[in-house]
């Protein structure tokens, strides 16, 4: 007899939440006993600590995807550079991709170590107004694999938020790994101690990417994370020699544009493929600075401006309410 399988696919309420082990989604989870017997809820002292640390952060933007290799870290790095071009703004870039931290290399900070002071861990500064934190800085060698299960990753992410002395920050950008798992649940949970302006979701035009990105959009809706908009990377390639345009990743199902229309989210922009992007990233340089005339730079700058406008508008709206 054919039996249709149905799985309880509701999400984990969080091992630290009041519902831990007690929610409907906990049925059948091997951790259920542990959770139900354990924490009665999030540690109020911990929450207070996080709130205190993040009090001086004005805007927080998460960069998400669902799909790997679409350009989240590239975008996070360029967003950080773009925002930090205004020397009056203090920018912080936090890399919570514990297994595959790309930010140190992209920011030209490979080999840097984290220093501790009385006030906590010091971010590594690229510019005076651009500080970076990543697990990459905690490894003895860049090839060391961080083979950790979820709980240990969550612990480090909490430390990044609690122990790093970011100081006064205008923009905190958080680069994430692909997926909808521990890192994503934890960052949303821990950042509830402060205000998250929203998420920027990165994709490429192909359906195989979009199908993961739709899940990410659903994740944002589930955890009530506002979506600033979607960025479509690798959107067309213009040959520098013959100037012909090719679709290296054809948008067989309408690309990000169609997806955004269907899901009522904003398309922040499309960025064409430019081999110089990967080149600059590999050498830890800002692509925006190295290729100011590239159509990709123009796209990135427009997108960065839209994100800034979104954040500033939120701020104004909040001030009105207050």
């Amino acid at each position: 007899l054919a039996a249709h399988l149905s799985l309880s696919l509701a999400e984990c309420p969080g091992t630290g939440s009041a519902q831990a082990g007690r929610a409907a989604a906990c049925q059948g989870c091997p951790n259920q006993g542990l959770c139900a017997a354990g924490a009665a809820g999030p540690d109020p002292a911990e929450a207070a600590e996080l709130r205190a640390r993040l009090r001086a952060v004005r805007h927080t933007v998460l960069v998400l995807s669902g799909k790997g290799g679409v350009g989240k870290s590239t975008f996070s790095a360029l967003l950080a550079h773009g925002l930090a071009a205004d020397e009056t703004k203090q920018v912080a870039l936090l890399d919570i991709d514990i297994c595959g931290p790309s930010i140190p290399k992209m920011m030209g900070l490979e080999g840097e170590q984290v220093h501790q002071s009385g006030s906590g861990w010091s971010p590594v500064y690229v510019e005076e107004n651009l500080g970076v934190m990543s697990v990459g800085f905690l490894l003895s060698s860049p090839d060391d694999a961080v083979i950790w299960r979820g709980p240990k990753k969550n612990g480090l992410i909490k430390q990044f938020l609690r122990d790093v002395d970011w100081g006064e920050v205008d923009y905190l950008i958080v680069d994430t790994p692909p997926g909808t798992s521990d890192e994503h649940l934890s960052i949303v949970q821990y950042l509830s101690a402060t205000h998250i302006d929203g998420a920027v979701i990165v994709t490429t035009p192909q359906e195989v990417s979009l199908q993961d990105v739709r899940k990410e959009i659903n994740f944002c809706r589930k955890v009530k994370l506002p979506i600033i908009g979607v960025v479509e990377n690798m959107s067309g390639f213009v040959c520098p020699k013959c100037k012909n345009e090719s679709q290296i990743f054809p948008p067989t199902t309408g690309g990000a544009e169609k997806m955004c229309q269907n899901l009522s989210v904003s398309l922040l922009g499309k960025v064409p493929l430019d081999p110089q992007i990967g080149n600059s990233c590999d050498r830890g340089q800002s692509f925006l600075a190295e290729a100011p005339e590239s159509p990709a730079t123009l796209s990135y700058r427009n997108i960065i401006q839209r994100i800034q406008e979104y954040c500033e508008q939120q701020h104004l709206q909040e001030e009105k309410i207050m």
Partner: protein, 161 residues
């Protein structure tokens, strides 16, 4: 002797497709590898342990299929031109294709173990295991669950940068 009596007893070789990095073509390679082995007359299965971003069902045009049960467990979905490749993926278990699987490690680990022990793979020459990017829960659990069986090894995929 270790594998006897289990659902993997009839599987001759298990190959993991890994990367570390996302978006380099693991799922694409897993699919092409399976199709090529099938063309060469081998009996092939694919186990997709990417729980957050399962790509294999779409790549083999079976995203609308569902999974059934038999006496020995879950029946993998038959794919390919001659329906001769066996596939298991969380993609088949979602109520809606856009549903996000927002699970922490322990729940992911439990399902991966089930995929290894409860899927009735039958007799296969090759079982290709497609993985998500990273070196975390899915990878640790898959290797732990597969180790007692004929784990051939890993193929690592990258791009030049």
């Amino acid at each position: 002797a270790l594998a006897e009596g289990t659902n993997l007893a009839g599987v001759q070789h298990i190959v993991l497709v890994l990367s570390g990095k996302g978006g380099v073509g693991k799922s694409t390679l897993s699919t092409e590898l399976a199709l090529a082995l099938r063309s060469a007359g081998k009996r092939v299965g694919i186990l997709d342990v990417d729980l957050c971003g399962p790509s294999i069902p779409r790549m083999l045009r079976v995203q609308d299929s569902s999974v059934h049960q038999c006496d020995s467990g879950w029946v993998p979905v038959s794919v390919g031109q001659d329906r001769a490749i066996a596939l298991m993926s969380i993609g088949f278990l979602l109520e809606r294709p856009d549903d996000a699987v927002v699970w922490r490690g322990p729940k992911k680990n439990a399902l991966i173990k089930q995929f290894v022990t409860d899927v009735a793979w039958g007799d296969l020459d090759f079982l290709i295991v497609d993985t998500p990017p990273g070196t975390s829960d899915e990878h640790i659990s898959a290797v732990e669950a597969l180790r007692p069986h004929r784990l051939l090894g890993a193929v690592l995929v990258t791009t030049p940068q």
